[in-house]
Symmetry: C2
Subunit: 243 residues, 2 copies
DNA sequence: ATTCTGCCGTGACCTGAGGTCATTCTTTAT
DNA sequence: ATAAAGAATGACCTCAGGTCACGGCAGAAT
């Protein structure tokens, strides 16, 4: 097992730069903004730090002064992109009132529209999840766990309080399953790169998409939701359908 | 949507090299073997084509003659690694007889042991799934769809025939859900890079792991399995199904 | 046996990317 | 105003992937 971890010597640059001195925050965020554009358009590897600097009209060295390395720059870009996404519970009040699975549906349906409005952060998230490096991926995973940017933990707590989610499954497990499947399902919805054949085979038919979403949610609900017996639903569950 | 795909010009090298002339197949596979070792130990980016060639005692140029690019070499390595894995239905007869979910459990438990015996292909699969490039990832996804190396499709067919899996969910959807969750669950089991906190928080306690597997399978079964009434598994379906 | 022929390996070479750093410019504090 | 600290510069370096003209060598043809 010893050889499995990547080279333990030389910690990543973006970790050594923990307190990079309080440099001009404005410039930092300008760089991040332009870099996001470049990464999104070109992909991680094809994007050039030199180009980013040129676009900004600054020296390439400056970028490295600020972020230490290309990895470090991307990590900042990634964090910014992911933080710009809405959290699950940011859904409208009436959607929240309809319950956890309606919240999920709301975002699944919306995701595609939001993609068209502003696809850049989505592309960045995709790159972070699949297209960089395992070392960076570890950092990204840490970030996702510590910040819970999509608010999955909050959503699960919400669902547990409403008695919509099963209490006999560890909350950690529910969170993980939600994160895994929602991520993959959305990736499949959004990009051809990762579609396991769910949406590509059918010719972009929107109503089939709706059907897929419906089916997916039904599966999820059986998996982690409380039993809904087809005959006369339990009164105590039904009671809190509000709030 | 137009800008989202990566640069359409210049198709990847490993695609242009489709028929690279029938060069010595023996040498090709020797290269792939050594390259697999290097990629697994160093990671995709840190692995050097020059080192691989040096280890083999051949010129770096030869490697490029054979595979066109580092990407192309890795793709071959990835395919070999993934093909070396057992398929779901390769489980022992008595396990298959016990049904789909017992087959899944069997492999979940075994995976960890197999990892210790020979971790290299697992590491390669991990790199292919998360640690290279989106362009390559697309190719990898195509490969996974066309070859179904883990035999998920066969397993689902098996489960449908045995009436263990729901017929009211598209088979495609079941396959995808199985692939997604099994992959992520195994990744979390095997590596710290991708563990969403499911296994890391607890101090490597094997019986907790067992419990997690148990819970995970229960969730899966509710999600895609036929409703199980409180009585035990149906005896009428016996295991003479060979595929 | 000798020549011919075409595949294959070679390694010197190129390109261009990430990354460094001494120096210079700019801002801020006193 | 002056000094000290921070920020920007751009020439420079390293080194990795990738190219290619050439030479050798195996097998076929004579």
């Amino acid at each position: 097992m010893s050889g499995i971890a990547s080279n333990p010597a030389a910690p990543p640059r973006y970790l050594r730069h923990v307190p990079p001195r309080p440099r001009s925050e404005a410039k930092r965020s300008r760089i991040v903004e332009v870099a996001m554009q470049h990464f999104a358009e070109q992909g991680y590897h094809a994007a050039r730090v030199g180009d980013i600097a040129a676009t900004l009209g600054i020296a390439k060295g400056s970028v490295f002064q600020h972020f230490g390395s290309k990895d470090g720059l991307f990590f900042e870009v990634y964090k910014k992109a992911v933080r710009s996404f809405p959290q699950y519970l940011d859904a409208p009040e009436e959607v929240r009132a309809a319950g956890v699975f309606e919240v999920l549906r709301y975002w699944l349906v919306r995701t595609e529209h939001m993609l068209h409005e502003d696809w850049i952060p989505y592309r960045i998230a995709l790159l972070g999840n699949y297209g960089t490096d395992l070392v960076l991926k570890r950092e990204i995973n840490r970030f996702l766990i510590s910040e819970d940017p999509y608010g999955t933990v909050a959503l699960v707590r919400f669902g547990l309080e409403r008695r919509e989610l099963r209490k006999d499954v560890d909350a950690d497990m529910i969170v993980s399953i939600l994160d895994w499947t929602m991520e993959r399902f959305q990736d499949a919805l959004l990009t051809a790169e990762l579609d396991p054949g769910l949406f590509r085979r059918q010719g972009e038919m929107p109503e089939k998409k709706e059907a897929r979403i419906q089916q997916f949610l039904a599966v999820l609900q059986r998996a982690i939701g409380v039993e809904l017996t087809s005959r006369a639903a339990r009164p105590e569950v039904r009671a809190d359908k509000r709030i």
